[in-house]
């Protein structure tokens, strides 16, 4: 039963990824649609990371001592000026871990 359920879930996740890449699907995207869709990557990724930083268990957390907010703030500055994914992750991560250890947050 568990195996069948896993297969069913696999069909769902694969379908969501594959469906619109299928060539015979009667959808054509004009330049306007392409332009609209070109905003999708930054928008979806942002919709994933913002709640991680500002919420916990669906409650808003805006606190001057929040390691999440300070870590994210440093990461944003680092990303803007270095454009390096490693430097950004390390800078944000160090601030995050330090605040968690030293602020007993």
């Amino acid at each position: 039963m568990t195996l069948l359920t896993i297969l069913l879930l696999a069909v769902i996740t694969f379908t969501t990824r594959y469906l619109f890449t299928h060539p015979t699907l009667p959808i054509t995207l004009n330049a306007n649609a392409q332009k609209f869709l070109s905003y999708s990557a930054p928008c979806v990724l942002t919709a994933i990371w913002v709640p991680i930083i500002f919420a916990k268990d669906h409650q808003l957390v805006v606190d001057a001592a929040s390691p999440y907010i300070w870590g994210a703030a440093i990461a944003i500055v680092a990303a803007k000026y270095t454009k390096s994914i490693y430097f950004t992750a390390i800078a944000g991560g160090v601030v995050f871990v330090a605040l968690r250890i030293f602020s007993s947050y």
């Binding site: 568990t2 359920t5 619109f20 808003l60 870590g71 990461a75 994914i85």
Partner: protein, 275 residues
Amino acid sequence: MSLAIKTTEQRALKLAIIKGAVDLMPLNLAVLPWGVLVGSLAIQQGFSVFEAQLMSALVYAGAAQLVAIELMSNNASILTLIATIFVISSRHFLYGLTLRNKLKLLPAKTRIATAFVLTDELFAYSGHKRAYMTKVRIYYGLSAGFSFYIAWNCWTFIGIVAGSFLPDLTQMGLDFAIAVTFIALVIPSIKSVSILIAVLSSAITALVLHLYSVELELIIAAFVGMSAGYLSKGLDNTSSNKDFDHKGSDDKCCENTGIDSKGSDCKDIAKEASL
């Protein structure tokens, strides 16, 4: 002569494979905690080793897998399970649609393989305007996608083996690892006023919907952000507009993120690919 071309092409493909895996490496590492969590949670909730690994191998989804494990161990109805997983995965429709004009041209096997590994992470690296349009870029994408797949399955395996010895990972703030890598991908891609407006709109909508526990928060927030960006496209001046079109001045790099890691390799790859 043809032999020489062949060797050059092989070299370019090899470079593309290496670059794909290298580019995804920070994300491969960032999901380590989540892969371990998925593996250990499955074992703790009574999945067999085989089932736990199979889930990562076939379902291959982060959040959806975690939720599915919880639901299945609580004996949720199959309908609840299907609906929930569908909602969590629905943002992938958007990825397929965004890449449709490119992926629909690929041979079936390549297209299916690419779609299979089309995660948030791979999508973030698929924005170049010629992504998937040359053999080299197809190899780049597949290598990036499958390196993430292999990493995810390795981390799951570690979770399966070490699961019961580990502390409660959900309380350790490891979600910050995901957030920080996504920040690193998004911020450099904000190259015009309209992208900034799109990102801010998506951010505010996502947060508000999240606080009210709206289930389709990701896809609604994305649509609000995309609409805001699209409607404000007139604010971009022409030069940044040009830049925006998937953020890649031609040979800059193989991804949309504006992160120009080893741009010169990329230029070489592109040049050789056109042979």
